[in-house]
């Protein structure tokens, strides 16, 4: 019935001690789309991500990946099935170099991860691919830098590269451009576009210019429930979306006070 949908949720609900954070959400993510999940702060976007990757257990509802029910699966199993997320707050291995960070991700496909008797040199063949990924996020120079020493924005870039290393079928990105300078934002947009070829992306993003440039389809969440859905034009024209989320400025750049609009032109 739903061949073209990579991911579906059916009446997904998450309650925290009586507080309903996700309220009966039915998502349908089409194969190959870049799908955005937007909405005001506290709408439940991150919670949805957490449910999809089983960092939280749904109170009710079902999750289907390629038609298969994955509601009961564990985090790691879901990741191995090809649903991989990046974190909103940067998550890296702080005392490894950038290169090693990526290698750990690549290694999970190698199937020798329990071989405690093998030499670590077997992993060197992953270096090339790791460097490619670092290059893609502009971190080539920092390949051998210990990750703690990277500035915040670069950690985010690294986090993204690590996620891509997983070659996910469905990529979940939680605010991938958060904390990045303009320059990097553009690079990430390109990166996501490139990464999206041949796979599906579901992203949370508050930078509307990124959303407008990248996304094929947008779901707006508000107070845990789906407010509306459609492409950027449809959604941004919706007065309810303007009211609860975009504010007076829908120019496509990041939200800014009314006064900005003049300077911008």
């Amino acid at each position: 019935m739903s061949e073209q949908y990579v991911l579906e949720t059916r009446n997904l609900v998450k309650e925290f001690k009586g507080f309903v954070a996700v309220d009966d959400v039915n998502l349908k993510i089409r194969q190959g789309d870049i799908h955005a999940l937007i909405g005001p702060n506290g709408a439940g976007k991150t919670t949805v991500f957490n449910l999809l990757t089983k960092f939280l257990i749904p109170t009710r509802g079902r999750i289907l990946f390629k038609g298969q029910d994955i509601t009961a699966m564990k985090s790691a199993a879901i990741a191995r099935k090809g649903v991989v997320r990046s974190f909103q707050i940067s998550a890296v291995f702080p005392h490894m170099t950038a290169l090693e960070n990526i290698r750990i991700a690549l290694q999970s496909f190698e199937g020798n991860s329990f071989s405690f008797w093998q030499s670590g040199n077997r992993l060197n063949k992953l270096n090339e691919r790791a460097m490619e990924l670092l290059d893609a996020v502009g971190l080539t120079r920092y390949a051998n830098t210990t990750t703690v020493e990277l500035a915040y924005g670069r950690k985010r870039a690294l986090e993204l590269a690590t996620t891509l290393a997983m070659e996910p079928e469905l990529l979940l990105l939680d605010e991938p451009t958060q904390g990045m300078g303009t320059e990097d934002v553009d690079r990430v947009v390109e990166l996501v576009r490139k990464a999206a070829q041949g796979r599906t992306v579901l992203m949370v993003e508050h930078n509307l210019s990124v959303v407008s440039k990248l996304c094929d389809r947008i779901t707006v969440l508000a107070q845990g429930a789906v407010l509306t859905e459609g492409d950027y034009e449809t959604v941004s024209a919706d007065p309810r979306v303007r009211e609860v989320y975009m504010g007076t400025d829908a120019s496509g750049e990041r939200g800014a006070p009314a006064a900005t609009t003049e300077t911008e032109a």
Binding site: A76, R103, S119, L123
Partner: protein, 306 residues
């Protein structure tokens, strides 16, 4: 490399100048600490119950060698190691899902229950200890009552285990352990079933600790409740930290240092002051040499080379 070679030569020649039983004691504790460090230093798990494995290895080997006449020593040691491995697997299953200090405390609690079992069982000889364990013969051929024979046997086993741990730490498996140590949720999201990795690490560590206990029982020809006491679990933490957790040589150096200091002090004019002096050393380590002896040397070299 050169350093390792020099150390090896020293170890081979050591019994010519030093008392072999004492050297063997050091090797046993060094192996114990190396095993423990695989968890603390390389997986980020603080086990507070490793005494249980040391004691299980010792008691099992001791019991078998005393009661099964045809059993050769290496088989007795193997049996002790296997028993500790099995116990380690049990501990791991019960504790591995707990985090941080809770993990430490569950392992402590389990070890206390094991201690209780040993206290209650008659085969351990209670507080008299299991005494007079025969050293027997290696492969039925080599007489281990000769201190030198036994020393070289223990040295060989120790070196084998040390190399195994070295290999493990650098292996693909070791990389994953390191990742888990640094950021567990991230490792999960990369598709690793972290509990399985932790369990395997725990079991390897328990096996090596059991092996250390088995060999110790053969060396001293006794196994006692002291081995199972929580102080011993604490002692191995101290040895590891004093030497340098997360370094390969650290636990070896730490064990050598602590065993030596304890022994030398107990003999000398300060024999009533062993505890306070050891205490002072621990305090000093934390304040002034936090990375441990080996860790600090490494830091110093890195600084002066770059």
């Amino acid at each position: 490399m050169i350093l390792n070679g020099v150390l090896l030569v020293l170890l081979v020649l050591a019994p010519l100048v030093m008392y072999p039983v004492f050297l063997m004691k050091i090797l046993c504790f060094a192996l114990f600490a190396v095993a423990f460090n695989l968890l603390l230093g390389y997986t980020g798990l603080l086990s507070f119950g490793h005494a249980a494995f040391l004691a299980t290895g010792g008691y099992t080997t001791g019991y078998l060698l005393s009661n099964v006449p045809w059993l050769t020593t290496e088989l007795g040691i193997l049996a002790g190691t296997l028993m500790a491995t099995a116990l380690g697997f049990g501990f791991a299953l019960l504790s591995i899902r707990r985090q941080g200090i809770y993990f430490a405390m569950v392992t402590l609690a389990l070890a206390q229950l094991v201690f209780f079992f040993f206290v209650q069982s008659s085969f351990t000889g209670g507080e008299d200890g299991m005494q007079g364990i025969p050293r027997g013969e290696l492969f039925g051929l080599i007489d281990l009552n000769d201190n030198l024979n036994l020393y070289y046997f223990i040295l060989a086993v120790f070196l084998g285990c040390y190399l195994l741990v070295q290999r493990t730490v650098g292996s693909p498996f070791g990389q994953v352990l390191n990742a888990i140590k640094q950021n567990e949720p991230r490792a999960i999201s990369l598709g690793y079933n972290v509990n399985r990795y932790k369990i395997l690490a725990f079991v390897i560590s328990a096996a090596l600790a059991g092996l250390a206990g088995s060999m110790k029982a053969v060396v001293f020809q006794l196994a006692s409740l002291n081995d199972a006491h929580w102080h011993t679990s604490g002692e191995v933490i101290l040895m590891t930290l004093v030497g340098g957790a997360g370094t390969l040589l650290g636990p070896v150096v730490g064990a050598t240092f602590v065993v030596n200091v304890e022994y030398q002090l107990a003999q000398g004019p300060l024999r009533d002051w062993v505890d306070p002096i050891l205490g002072g050393i621990f305090v000093l380590t934390v304040i002034a040499f936090r990375s441990g002896i080996v860790g600090e040397i490494q830091k110093f070299m890195r600084k002066n080379l770059s």
